[in-house]
């Protein structure tokens, strides 16, 4: 046995406990889910599947897009030095550190029809006729309530990811661009954005996967209503398995979700590679 292959064997040995744990808590349940899944023909007749899918996809698209823009702005601000930056950076992370279900309860109070802060705010700004605005009673405003709550919570996460990308951009490039006469806006477009692209891609994929599986926020804030218009695929899959006891079809929904995520991720990677080659 050569030294090299012995080192390889030892490495595998060290990794074995972690691999074992991963296998037991992750791969095994996933495999089990695939094994239980069935009744795929029901996708064709299920009147709920496509509406739920549409809600989930639009929620993902809108939320991730908003988060990217706001997260980028936040990252740029937090990256430039100013007094008390460490404190501000820590404070910004608070929404992300809060458990979603707890935070969703708070948002439910904020959007409360009778005594919610949001209605009062709109009333004081002259945007609503009365402080009692039933935000969650309307399909459109309930959708945007979820978007707002999710963006509020996860933008800091996006910002932290993007900041790690900013850290990897060498200062010399900015200096060179400045010497060549590029202003701050131009420096952002020609230096920051292109070099940040790989990080943006990772961040967007991360967040898209998370938002696609959004459950707790919707479950607590709207329960999928009104009229089922804010029900996401994760909430629906939960109902199918635990409330309707339709295990096979519920697992099929989960498999469909996984396939969607693989497709979505593949698409994003493909688009970015295609652009990169040009």
């Amino acid at each position: 046995m050569t030294d090299h292959s012995r080192a390889g064997a030892v490495n595998w040995l060290y990794a074995a406990p972690a691999l074992l744990v991963m296998g037991v808590v992750s791969l095994l349940p996933i495999g089990y889910t695939f094994g239980l899944a069935g009744e795929y023909h029901r996708f064709a007749t299920d009147t709920r599947f496509w509406p739920v899918m549409r809600t989930t996809l639009s929620l993902t698209a809108v939320t991730v897009a908003l988060e990217l823009v706001l997260g980028l702005a936040m990252a740029l601000v937090l990256w430039s030095p100013f007094p008390g930056r460490g404190l501000v950076r820590a404070a910004v992370l608070i929404p992300w550190a809060l458990p979603t279900a707890v935070m969703a309860m708070a948002w439910r109070w904020i959007f409360n029809a009778d005594s919610g802060v949001m209605g009062d705010l709109f009333f004081r700004l002259g945007l609503a006729a009365s402080p009692q605005v039933p935000w969650l009673a309307d399909a459109t405003s309930a959708f945007w309530a979820i978007v707002l709550a999710d963006v509020w919570k996860t933008t800091p996460f996006m910002a932290v990811l993007l900041m790690s990308g900013l850290a990897a951009i060498p200062d010399e490039l900015y200096e060179a661009a400045a010497i060549d006469g590029a202003g701050p806006a131009r420096r952002f477009w020609i230096v920051t954005l292109p070099l940040l692209k790989p990080t943006i891609l990772v961040a967007v994929i991360f967040r898209a996967i998370q938002t696609f599986g959004l459950f707790d926020l919707v479950f607590v804030l709207t329960g999928g209503g009104p009229g089922g218009r804010t029900q996401t695929i994760a909430v629906y899959a939960y109902d199918v398995v635990f409330r309707y006891q339709e295990l096979a079809y519920g697992c099929a929904l989960v498999v469909a979700m996984a396939l969607c995520l693989v497709l979505m991720t593949g698409l994003m990677l493909g688009v970015s590679r295609g652009r990169g080659a040009r």
């Binding site: 029809a113 039933p134 969650l136 309307d138 329960g223 999928g224 009104p226 009229g227 109902d239």
Partner: protein, 414 residues
């Protein structure tokens, strides 16, 4: 040191997770219930353990939300675990639990004539495919609360029909006091509210022959009435679409509504000292529409015996003790829990403590269970969704119920 001990500790913790009965020579009967707020369950258990020294009852006080407890029971039963010997089940869970084979039929354990003492609706809701699966302990039914003072001020009589309710609400409401509030959020409570009106208008959801009738004219008329109450008559604020029981009660209790649909639990809370509407409220059975009879959706709880319990006979003994007249009277007097036994609604001691029990007895005598179908959760969700869509103006009532009927028929056929 700690690092070396950690795996050992982990194994001990894992081993301790399985249910092992304490070695005290008694039969332990375990069940899950909501937090024992009034403390009356503990009193009943004390009495039971004195009467049956061989039994020990372990009450697990779970979450207050019924859905959460339903899931905890489901999870344990799906794994065929004997974590719970008894299940304290809502009337709506009976068909699902029974169809899955999670519950033990009780017919052999109790004499049929003993069952006559219970309210008919509670008993009907405890049966699935002709077999008894639950001993009713607590009854519950929806009804109409009204503000005596506000009606009297305008000389308006207590409404008995939907038309009268709309007229009365129009006369008595003000910009700051809504006419009528109910549970309008998309959840099980909305179906309870809606079914009361469907029955009241002479319609039905799933009749005895298993025919889905929710898209027929009486049901459409009921939904149209409810939608118009919000969007045409303006007696119901749009915010009811976000209300569950507590939001509804808060609005009514703060004096911001003339009429309210709610369950009996609200009565005691609104009659408490410091409540702005104390002594100003009355209750009647829900109003009816043309061609129908007033109806109440039956709620209510009872004990079922788990199919996986190792002590089914002892478990049933506990269920019987909780369902006894003495225990139910105690639960009512200490905790306001409504009895499932008919006789208690004319019991002198009960009536002295709570004169409104006579009216309540009338409401509950007409209470009807939701359809006993194992796929009820899916049917209910379809109905919730489309009724909610109609109330929020996304669908027309007739279309909403047609769509709901298609989904309910598909669920029934599967």
């Amino acid at each position: 040191m700690l690092r070396r001990l950690a795996p050992v500790l982990l194994i001990i913790v894992i081993a301790a997770c399985g249910r092992r009965e304490p070695d005290d020579g008694k039969v332990h009967i375990r069940y899950l219930a909501s937090p024992d707020v009034g403390g009356f369950s503990k009193v009943i258990i004390d009495r039971l353990e004195r009467a049956h020294p061989e039994l020990k009852v372990d009450m697990v006080e779970g979450p207050a939300a019924g859905d959460a407890r339903e899931n905890m029971y489901s999870t344990a039963f799906m794994g065929k675990e004997d974590s719970y010997d008894l299940a304290y089940v809502d009337v709506a869970w009976v068909p699902k639990f029974a169809a899955q084979g999670w519950l033990r039929p009780l017919d052999a354990l109790i004499a049929p004539e003993k069952l006559d003492a219970f309210l008919p609706g509670d008993l009907e809701g405890s049966r699935y495919k002709g077999k008894l699966y639950r001993l009713p302990v607590q009854s519950d039914g929806g009804m109409l609360y009204y503000r005596k003072d506000l009606l009297a001020a305008k000389g308006v009589p207590v409404p008995r029909t939907w038309e009268e309710l709309v007229a009365a609400a129009r006369k008595t409401r003000t910009p700051s006091i809504a006419g009528f509030v109910f549970q309008g959020k998309q959840y099980e409570g909305l179906v309870c509210v809606f079914m009361e009106l469907v029955w009241g208008f002479g319609g039905d959801l799933l009749d005895a022959a298993g025919v889905v009738r929710i898209d027929e004219p009486p049901a459409v008329a009921a939904l149209t009435a409810l939608v118009d109450a919000i969007h045409v008559d303006g007696i119901v604020p749009l915010s009811v679409l976000t209300y569950q029981e507590e939001e509804t009660r808060n609005v009514f209790q703060e004096g911001r509504a003339v009429f309210m649909r709610n369950w009996p639990y609200a009565w005691n809370l609104m009659q408490k000292e410091g409540s702005p509407v104390r002594g100003k409220i009355g209750i009647v059975p829900m109003v009816s529409g043309p061609g129908g009879r007033s109806a109440a959706t039956l709620g209510g709880w009872g004990f079922a015996v788990s199919a996986y319990s190792r002590h089914p006979n002892e478990a049933f003994k506990v269920a019987e003790f909780f369902a006894s007249a003495e225990s139910q009277k105690l639960a009512f007097l200490k905790g306001g829990i409504l009895p499932s036994r008919k006789a208690l609604y004319s019991d002198p001691e009960v009536l002295t403590a709570a004169p409104h029990m006579k009216d309540l007895g009338r409401v509950l005598a007409g209470a009807r269970p939701r359809p006993t179908h194992p796929r009820w959760p899916r049917m209910s969700d379809a109905l919730q969704m489309h009724v909610s869509a109609a109330l929020s103006g996304q669908e027309y009532p007739a279309d909403a119920l047609k769509a709901a009927a298609v989904e309910i028929r598909a669920a029934a056929a599967r």
